[in-house]
């Protein structure tokens, strides 16, 4: 179901996305002494979701730094250290708190190279997304806030192997990378995967076709990849073959894969968990309507969360989150168009 990473040797057991991320950090810290971690409770506690567990013990207090509750200082310190040649990886306890550092991310980190020819190779990572009853402040998908900021890269893996390979690539990247980890996938059994045994990277800026199809394309990323795949499975029972594209990187977009899929299927559903208006589907729609217009045989359909904060109560959150049935229904209508 998941496109396998091309690599011979495999690890012994399937691991969760959390473990894949931890391996990425561990390997990069072992490989490159300039890499260090900072954030709230990343040290002794190993991070709120235990992504950094064991790293303090292995690399010491100078490389796994517990910080005050100061998101701007965390990002600012990461920027400053990066200027000096370090490779900081900053954790947000929840990605909702990235808003507290919005200014310094978009004004310092994103613009330093352009303005002053300075490299700011930082990774800003942490858990995003809903489906764990976190309520309005522990469930947000902040990607769209940053999509209009040239100089940034934005990544969101959907598989364990991508999580590892992309995080390693992000750490080695010369530019600031916002790395979104969907917390619903952190320990989801179906995400567990046997990883390649050797050092590998998944390139930033490359999408993956998770399922081939010819009747329509479902373009998505993050946890919604599974929603799309499940919908595709159901649609297949009725002979509707949906292609599922996992963007993996939102900035810069893999326009080629996106447009190729549209050129092939001629119909497209843009699916995301972020809310509708002003969400990432806008940019995708604009690219498609501008550059693949002649291939389109139907409207570009968005399936997204509605324009509300993320509610807490299970029936509300379920209503809020795009469901397999929503995608399925949209697809059935679209193929009829």
């Amino acid at each position: 179901m998941v496109t396998p990473v091309k690599a011979q040797a495999k690890q012994e057991t399937a691991v969760t996305m959390v473990e894949a991320l931890r391996q990425a950090l561990d390997e990069e810290m072992a490989r490159d002494e300039r890499v260090f971690i900072l954030g709230e409770d990343v040290g002794v506690y190993g991070g709120a979701f235990k992504v950094t567990e064991g790293l303090l013990e292995k690399y010491g207090e100078e490389r796994v730094i517990d910080t005050p509750i100061s998101e701007s200082a965390i990002v600012g310190a990461a920027c400053g250290a990066a200027l000096m040649g370090m490779r900081p990886v900053a954790e947000f306890q929840f990605m909702d708190f990235i808003s507290c550092a919005f200014d310094i991310i978009i004004n310092y980190a994103a613009k330093a190279r352009y303005r002053n020819n300075l490299s700011v190779p930082i990774v800003l990572r942490g858990p995003c997304g809903g489906n764990v009853h976190g309520g309005p402040f522990h469930s947000q998908n902040p990607e769209a806030y940053f999509l209009n900021v040239p100089g940034l890269k934005i990544v969101e893996p959907s598989t364990a192997s991508d999580a590892k390979g992309l995080l390693k690539a992000a750490i080695r990247d010369e530019d600031p990378v916002i790395f979104l980890e969907h917390k619903y996938l952190y320990r989801l059994p179906r995400v567990k995967e046997v990883l390649p045994a050797d050092d590998y990277l998944v390139p930033i800026g490359k999408a993956a076709v998770r399922r081939e199809g010819k009747h329509l394309s479902i373009i998505t990323y993050g946890a919604m990849v599974y929603t799309a795949l499940d919908a595709a499975e159901k649609l297949a029972q009725d002979g509707i073959e949906a292609e599922v594209v996992d963007l993996r990187t939102l900035l810069p977009l893999d326009e080629e894969t996106l447009l190729n899929s549209v050129a092939k299927t001629n119909k497209v559903i843009l699916l995301h968990e972020a809310t509708r208006t002003g969400g990432p589907a806008g940019e995708l729609a604009a690219r498609i309507a501008e550059k693949a217009f002649e291939y389109l045989d139907g409207p570009i359909v968005r399936v997204t969360a509605p324009d509300t904060p993320v509610p807490y109560s299970p029936p509300l959150e379920e209503e809020f989150l795009p469901q397999v049935s929503d995608v399925e229904q949209a697809a059935r209508e679209l193929v009829k168009y």
Binding site: D66, I69, S70, S99, H133, G135, P136, Y312, S313, L316
Partner: protein
């Protein structure tokens, strides 16, 4: 020290005990997966919320943090509201839209916080600013954790309140940890009271496990603020006796520290004090506890019977008028 009536002394006990017993109910519900979000205990620090909120008058306004359940109870929030809110039921004050203490009721002078620590210092400064502009004599009380004093919004809000001489009293709850982070990794000062020096406002350090001391310090600060003399910061020293939330066994806290602070339990201490000062007999306290148990039983039943909200609630109230 202001003179309290016997009834008031007992009322303080009632709120302390109610806080503790309500939280115990919440823990049970959490274990049954009925409290769906995280559960953040105030065990061992109930006196800071109860004592401070008890110093407010009607018309005053309070904004709690997650560990200030007791302050809400003092303000008249009912256990059934809290239970419904934690269990995400439709009869909770947010109809299940938000969690824990994230609810507001202006009629009872309660403004709920958001998760972003520090922000409420700015917002409550604005509430205090409005009070000043409207020439209302109300006072605003809010809370900040040791860890949250590191946020930029704490700084901006405190400085704003100070320079505009606003009627804002801030209880800085020094429970010595922010999640797993001890104060030694959070700041280079020992006392949160030192933060106040940057704003030119008075600060006091109070034993946070002494409910009467907290009450008295807050009462004075509130009176001062009401007289138009501006903000005060009150540092209450206490200890977080449970993990950050129920999922956290706080293995990172030295056992000795916990043992030491266990002896200082604010409820035990207040019980003893009441008895020693002959303000209450064991029977009085027993009676209060029984009243609480009965109340909680009824409220729990109410809350358990409250349904989840209808999915249509998802779309309500994004804007004043639906577009």
């Amino acid at each position: 020290m202001a003179k309290l009536t016997k009834q008031q002394y007992l009322e303080l006990y009632y709120y302390l005990k109610l806080t503790r017993l309500l939280e115990e109910r919440l823990v049970n519900l959490y274990r049954q997966n009925k409290v769906i979000g995280g559960l953040y205990r105030s065990l061992g620090q109930e006196a800071t919320a109860v004592g401070s909120a008890y110093a407010l008058e009607e018309g005053d306004i309070l904004s709690p943090l997650i560990r200030d359940l007791g302050a809400l109870l003092v303000r008249g929030i009912k256990p059934r509201e809290v239970l419904c809110q934690y269990m995400a039921r439709v009869d909770g004050p947010t109809k299940g839209k938000d969690l824990n203490v994230h609810f507001s009721d202006l009629s009872r002078g309660v403004i709920g916080p958001i998760s972003m620590l520090g922000d409420m210092i700015c917002v409550m400064s604005g509430v205090a600013l409005a009070a000043k502009l409207q020439k209302r004599e109300l006072v605003v009380l809010t809370y900040i954790g040791d860890g949250a004093t590191s946020t930029g919004t704490f700084h901006e809000g405190m400085n704003f309140a100070a320079v505009h001489n606003l009627p804002l009293v801030v209880i800085a709850q020094n429970n010595q940890y922010a999640y797993s982070t001890p104060n030694s990794k959070q700041m280079r000062i020992k006392d949160l009271a030192d933060r106040a020096k940057a704003y030119g406002i008075p600060a006091q350090i109070i034993d946070g496990n002494d409910v009467l001391a907290v009450y008295e310090a807050t009462r004075k600060a509130v009176a001062r603020a009401r007289r138009g003399q501006g903000p005060v910061l009150i540092e209450v020293k206490t200890f977080r006796m449970k993990g950050h939330a129920e999922h956290d066994n706080q293995a990172y806290v030295p056992k000795e520290l916990l043992a030491e602070w266990h002896k200082k339990d604010p409820l035990d201490r207040y019980e003893k004090e009441l008895k020693v000062k002959r303000l209450a007999t064991e029977a009085d306290l027993q009676q209060i506890t029984e009243r609480i148990e009965a109340e909680l039983e009824a409220d729990l039943e109410f809350a358990l019977n409250s349904p989840f909200p209808d999915k249509s609630v998802t779309y309500e109230n994004v804007y004043a008028t639906a577009s």
